[in-house]
Each structure stands twice: as structure tokens, then as C-alpha cells.
């Protein structure tokens, strides 16, 4: 009897730090099980071997920052049945989207001696601005258990269980003392997508938003709250302009506080 073909998994990299795809190799307890359930067809960070597409699942890390990347993402989409973006770079443009608020020419000449060699787009954009994306997994980096959950869900034809509520919910559930109420520390938790398990408040610091905006975030109410804690307009801008600076809700709120 013919054995059922294993689904082919591919991992692609655009402008990024490799941290999100590394999350897969950091699943020490699950890695061999994952490798047993799928056929890892393309994963350059881990393997020399490359199998031809089409691929059943493509994980895409990184944002689009060069003309070449803007073309390459279409090739990836064409070869992929399901395309899942992983991380803040891929879902919101990442930390490199900070250049979107400035003139990119100034950026190039600030870093490179011969700007003519640099081929870069004016903006760093998320993958969904370019092609249809089946599912977005947030975080900078993503949470590895969520990644395993997402793979598991798609391999079994169900919807992934990755809640869209805020970090505050996870924080409360963990029994943390609220750093904002108790210490007056600015925290983005109320408007940030859950997924990390509220790590920062558990370590006595405010959330800096690495999982990006939650669904329908009330950013203006939070900004008002921060002001009452004595946070300057400048710092509010910096607060919303972090690893998810170009996510719509954060971008708009930051622009409101620009002086």
C-alpha cells in the first residue's frame, strides 16, 4: 500500500534577523517530532538539501525591503499552498520599518560610504502588503510553542489556537502585580497582542510591544494614561515606534504625538 505523502514544509527568509526561524531549531523537545511529521523541503539555515516546490506549507520570515525581495515573494506565493508569516518583520515590517518615518536617502548615507551600491526600497513592508497570506503569527521573536501549535493545526486541518486578546489578560492570569498601577511604569500591555505569556511584567518591566497591536486596540486611551504617569510626548512616540512601528494602529498613534 502506498504510504501517505508527508506535507512539504519550506522556510523562507526576507529582511530579518533569523530569530523567528531559529525558534523552530529551539524547539529541542519537539524538533525531531516535527521533522518526522513533515518533509523539510527548503530550510537553508538548517540544511543544504533543497527540494523543488510546490510546498504544502511555507513559513515566511522577514519584511520586504528591496526590489528583489518584492519579486521573490511572488515566486514563493506561487509555489505555496499555504503561506504563513512569522514574526514582527513579516507581519508588520519589523524594526527596520523605522526607516519608513524618515527619508531613506539620509539613512543610506548615514550608514554606507558609497550609497550607489545600496538597492533598497523607501519602505520596509509586511508580506501581506504584497501577496495573500493565509495566517499571521506575531512576535519579535514568535513564541515557539505557538509555532508548533500553528503547524500542528494546519497539518490537522483545524484553526490555530492563538488568542487575539491583550498581554494584560496573560499578565492577570499569571498573577503579576501590574507594573503600571503599582510602580507607575509605562506598559504597552493593554494594546498588545497576547502570545508571550506576559514576560516583561513578570520581570518588573513594562511591555514594549514586541507582539504588535491586539485586535481593536484603544491606543489613544493608553497614551492618555501614559501622559498622566508623566511620560513625555517624545517617549510616547518612541513607545509605539518599536518592533511593530508600522502596524497601522501603532503608526497612527505615534504620529499623533509627534511634535
Amino acid at each position: 500500500m502506498a504510504k501517505k505523502r508527508k506535507p512539504k514544509l519550506a522556510v523562507w527568509k526576507f529582511s530579518s534577523c533569523d530569530g523567528c526561524q531559529l525558534s523552530l531549531l529551539d524547539c529541542e523537545d519537539e524538533l525531531l517530532a516535527v521533522a518526522g511529521a513533515v518533509d523539510i523541503a527548503n530550510f537553508p539555515e538548517a540544511s543544504r538539501a533543497v527540494a523543488k516546490g510546490p510546498y504544502d506549507i511555507s513559513l515566511v520570515e522577514g519584511s520586504i525591503t528591496t526590489p528583489h525581495e518584492a519579486e521573490r515573494i511572488h515566486q514563493v506565493r506561487r509555489q505555496s499552498k499555504l503561506l504563513i508569516t512569522i514574526g514582527a518583520c513579516a507581519t508588520a515590517g519589523g524594526i527596520q520599518a523605522l526607516k519608513n518615518f524618515k527619508d531613506v536617502k539620509d539613512f543610506i548615507s548615514a550608514v554606507y560610504a558609497s550609497p550607489e551600491y545600496i538597492e533598497t526600497l523607501a519602505k520596509s513592508t509586511p508580506i501581506a502588503d504584497h501577496v495573500f497570506v493565509d495566517f499571521e503569527l506575531r512576535g519579535c521573536p514568535i513564541n515557539k510553542y505557538q509555532l508548533v501549535e500553528v503547524l500542528n493545526a494546519f497539518l490537522n486541518g483545524r484553526k490555530p489556537n492563538t488568542p487575539a486578546y491583550s498581554v494584560c489578560m496573560e499578565c492577570k492570569r499569571r498573577g503579576n502585580i501590574c507594573v503600571m498601577v503599582a510602580h507607575g511604569t509605562a506598559c504597552l500591555g493593554p494594546v498588545v497582542h497576547a502570545g508571550c505569556g506576559a514576560i516583561c511584567p513578570s520581570y518588573n518591566r513594562g511591555c514594549y510591544g514586541c507582539f504588535g497591536p491586539k485586535e481593536t486596540p484603544n491606543t489613544s486611551s493608553l497614551a492618555e494614561w501614559w501622559k498622566q504617569l508623566g511620560v513625555s510626548e517624545e517617549d510616547i512616540v518612541r513607545g509605539f515606534r518599536g518592533f511593530n512601528a508600522y502596524a497601522d494602529a501603532f503608526r497612527k498613534e505615534s504620529e499623533l504625538h509627534e511634535v
Binding site: Q21, I40, A46, I95, E119, Y203, N204, R238
Partner: protein
């Protein structure tokens, strides 16, 4: 054999980031070697301008997902040098322990998952696991022990959140740390086995007269502090880095190469640290090195895999030592007095020295930043290795030579996404090769 040959690897696998390799030969001579980086620039130095000093450890960690702690450590040390703060006691030890975690995790990843498959002829660790399941399972557990240290101190293994200029946001309790000890004892044995295992791999005969550069500390194997020294006479404090090292534009490549002024290329990373700090290793590590057939220094870059294993053993022993002596500090950080100035930081990332320089205004906002990661510093040496290696092995068939060239690059465990924010780029994927 054809007199005109070329070796081309369009997308270099099992390194972090995107690079390619082109070697051209004519009539038995190597005419051109290019180890290129086509990773897009992400402009970290540019957008660090205007950010707060306190954001540097969170932001710069995102340059590289494999060694985020190195970025965090170099940045906090640079900032602290501006404010005139020096951590001591348990906080200093805690930073060392944190670095142990990163070394273990990163070295084990490289040794077993990225590099050992080369020597044994496998495409990757997952294929290796089919024939050697126990080896790979042990390796994964070993790697996880490094990650456990990082997660406990830092909150998570990639881009930890607990590093702060002046210390940490929260210090772990003694009990939390001692819970790691059992696993670390197990890890010590496995690391020792790893040294023995890597020593048996088939190494090409290949030695070069390198200038090794690393930190050197009066009584420790270097992580966070020390003077910058070399085996050819360099001996300077970190703040003088830019008086001695420059980035040069070389004709055959469109990438900037970091060189020592008036001297040329140099080598950073495990081989360099080992050669310059053998006397700072523990007796067990020294003995393991001798039994592995290494002297007090090693000039064969392929044997970097043995030295990574020895450094893994060192990091495990050091972690055990620190945890045994640990007492929770009264406060997780020291107070800071913010002021304007320029500061320098250099620490030993798993791949070699990582230099940061920042200038702050009186409010603590960053006016400018410069970051020189290990891969940028090794790039010229990598190309030299390739040129020499191909020259000496010109009679190998193309596929074999190609694989060994890739391996020559993987010896350095290069982090290409780190290298790009200061290298000039040239997109070469579609370059025409005759």
C-alpha cells in the same frame, strides 16, 4: 580537466543570513574568490539615532537572532562606560552566567546541527539523526540547557527582555538557579564526550599564519571584559579600537572588509580566543584540549569545531561555578547618572569580538552609533582561506570542492545578517559566470 572552472554557491546553507560564494579558476590558478553577502541592509546604526540609551540592548539584539546576548552585552557595557559605572559582585557574575548560556546554546547549535553534518557527509542534522539518533537527541538536550540559562535569566531564549543598562530588571533567586545544576552536571559529561567526538572527525590538512585577535582578561577566559590583544603584538584597551581597526574597500569585492591598520586581515572567534587565552581555561578544558590533539593554539580553521566543544565545556564549568557561589543581590541594578559622552563596548560573541560605540547627548539620546560584528571582521580571512584552500585542492571534482568551500565558510559560523548593516552590498545572485 577543464582549464576554466568556476564554483558557485548561490545561497549558502547552514549559516545565519544570506550569502553566496563564487570562485573562478583559469589554467590551474585561482583568479577570483568572492564570498558575498546579499542580505538586505536594515540600517540599525541609522535608526538608533534619536533613540534612548536604555533602548539599545533591546534594539541591537534584533540584529541577530543567534547571538542576541552578545549585542545586549556590548551595548550595555558601552553605555555604562559613558556613565562611569562598572558592575561588580553578583551582578557581574550574573552577566557572565548569562553569556555562558548563549555560548552553550550557540556553540552546540553550530557543532551538531550546522557543522558536524559537513564532516560526516550529511545535508543536515535531521538526516544525521536518522543514523545517529542518540547523538542528535543528546545534542538537543545539551543545547536546551544553554537555552534554559538564557530563559531563566533573560525571560526567553531569543531576544531576552531582562537586560538593562546598569544590570537587570530582575535578578533570579538562588533556588531558581540551583535548579539548573543537575542538568549542568549531566551536560559537563556530554560536553566532554563532544570534545572527544569532534576530535575524531576527518580534518583536511590546512594551516594558515593567522593574526588572532581576542579579548584578554587578567584572570578569566574572556566574555565581557579585557584588553584587545593579538598574537602579533596588539595590546590595547577597547576604547582604542578605532585607532587600530579600519574598514577597507578592496577591489575584488564590493564589501567592506575590516582590517588591522598597516597589517591586513585578522581572525576573531574560538580559534583566536583559545590561542590567546589557553592559560585561562580550566584544568579540565586544558586536559581535554591536549587529549584532542591540540596544542595551546591551533591554526587549522576546520578544527574550530573541537575548540567550540572545549568552550562549551568551559561555559558549563563556569556556569556551575557561578551558580554555586551565587547570592541574590539586594538590587537587580545600580543607579545611573545620565550624561553626555562617547562610550565603547567590546565583548566576545560566540563568533568573536563584537564592538559597539555610541555617542549620547545630555538627555541620554543616541547621537550616533557604530557596530562592528564578528562576521565583518572575519570576512577577509574567510576569503583568504578559500583562495588558499582551492589552490591546494584544485584537483578535486567540482561537487566535492564546492562542498569543502562551503565548509571552509561554515568553519567561521558566520552570521550574515549581523554583517550587513555596515557592509556595502552588491546583489550577485544572477551574476554571469563563464
Amino acid at each position: 580537466m577543464k582549464s576554466n572552472r568556476s564554483i558557485k554557491v548561490d545561497y549558502l546553507a547552514r549559516v545565519e543570513g544570506e550569502g553566496s560564494l563564487t570562485v573562478k579558476m583559469k589554467g590551474g590558478e585561482v583568479t577570483d574568490v568572492k564570498f558575498k553577502i546579499f542580505e538586505p541592509p536594515r540600517f540599525f546604526e541609522a535608526f538608533l539615532r534619536g533613540r534612548k540609551f536604555s533602548e539599545a540592548p533591546d534594539i541591537t539584539s534584533r540584529i541577530c537572532g543567534i547571538c542576541p546576548i552578545a549585542y545586549q552585552m556590548s551595548s550595555v557595557h558601552a553605555m555604562e562606560s559613558i556613565f562611569g559605572v562598572k558592575l561588580d559582585g553578583q551582578l557581574r557574575e550574573l552577566r557572565r552566567l548569562f553569556y555562558c548560556g548563549e555560548w552553550i546554546e550557540s556553540h552546540v547549535l553550530h557543532v551538531y546541527m550546522l557543522h558536524a553534518p559537513d564532516f560526516l557527509g550529511y545535508q543536515d542534522a535531521i538526516q544525521l539523526a536518522k543514523d545517529y539518533p542518540e547523538v542528535v537527541q543528546k545534542a538537543l538536550r545539551l543545547k536546551k540547557i544553554g537555552n534554559d540559562i538564557v530563559t531563566l535569566i533573560g525571560g526567553r531564549e531569543i531576544h531576552p527582555i531582562n537586560v538593562k543598562v546598569g544590570g537587570f530588571y530582575k535578578a533570579p533567586t538562588k533556588k531558581e538557579l540551583t535548579s539548573l545544576l543537575n542538568n549542568l552536571e549531566w551536560a559537563k559529561d556530554v560536553a566532554l564526550e563532544t570534545v572527544k567526538f569532534t576530535a575524531t572527525l576527518p580534518f583536511p590538512e590546512f594551516e594558515q599564519d593567522y593574526e588572532f585577535v581576542s579579548l584578554r582578561h587578567p584572570d578569566e577566559y574572556p566574555f565581557n571584559e579585557g584588553r584587545l590583544v593579538s598574537n602579533k603584538g596588539l595590546d590595547i584597551p577597547v576604547r582604542e579600537y578605532e585607532n587600530h581597526f579600519v574598514e577597507e574597500h578592496v577591489e575584488h569585492s564590493n564589501a567592506l572588509h575590516s582590517v588591522l591598520k598597516n597589517r591586513g586581515n585578522y581572525f576573531v572567534g574560538p580559534l583566536a580566543r583559545f590561542a590567546l587565552n589557553f592559560d585561562r581555561l580550566t584544568p579540565l578544558c586544558q586536559q581535554a584540549a591536549r587529549e584532542a590533539g591540540l596544542g595551546e593554539s591551533c591554526y587549522n580553521p576546520f578544527k574550530g569545531i573541537i575548540i567550540r566543544s572545549i568552550e562549551t565545556l568551559y561555559a558549563i564549568e563556569e556556569a556551575i561555578r557561578i551558580i554555586n557561589k551565587y547570592e541574590m543581590p539586594d538590587s537587580p541594578s545600580v543607579p545611573l547618572e545620565i550624561k553626555a559622552g562617547t562610550g565603547h563596548g567590546c565583548t566576545e560573541a560566540p563568533r568573536g569580538i563584537l564592538y559597539h560605540r555610541y555617542t549620547l547627548d545630555e538627555k541620554g539620546n543616541i547621537l550616533n552609533a557604530k557596530i562592528v560584528p564578528p562576521t565583518s571582521q572575519n570576512q577577509k580571512t574567510i576569503e583568504n582561506d578559500l583562495r588558499e584552500y582551492v589552490k591546494r585542492n584544485i584537483n578535486l571534482p567540482n561537487d566535492k570542492l564546492t562542498w569543502q568551500c562551503e565548509q571552509t565558510i561554515r568553519n567561521y559560523d558566520p552570521c550574515i545578517s549581523c554583517a550587513t548593516h555596515f557592509l556595502k552590498l552588491n546583489i550577485v545572485q544572477d551574476e554571469f559566470v563563464e
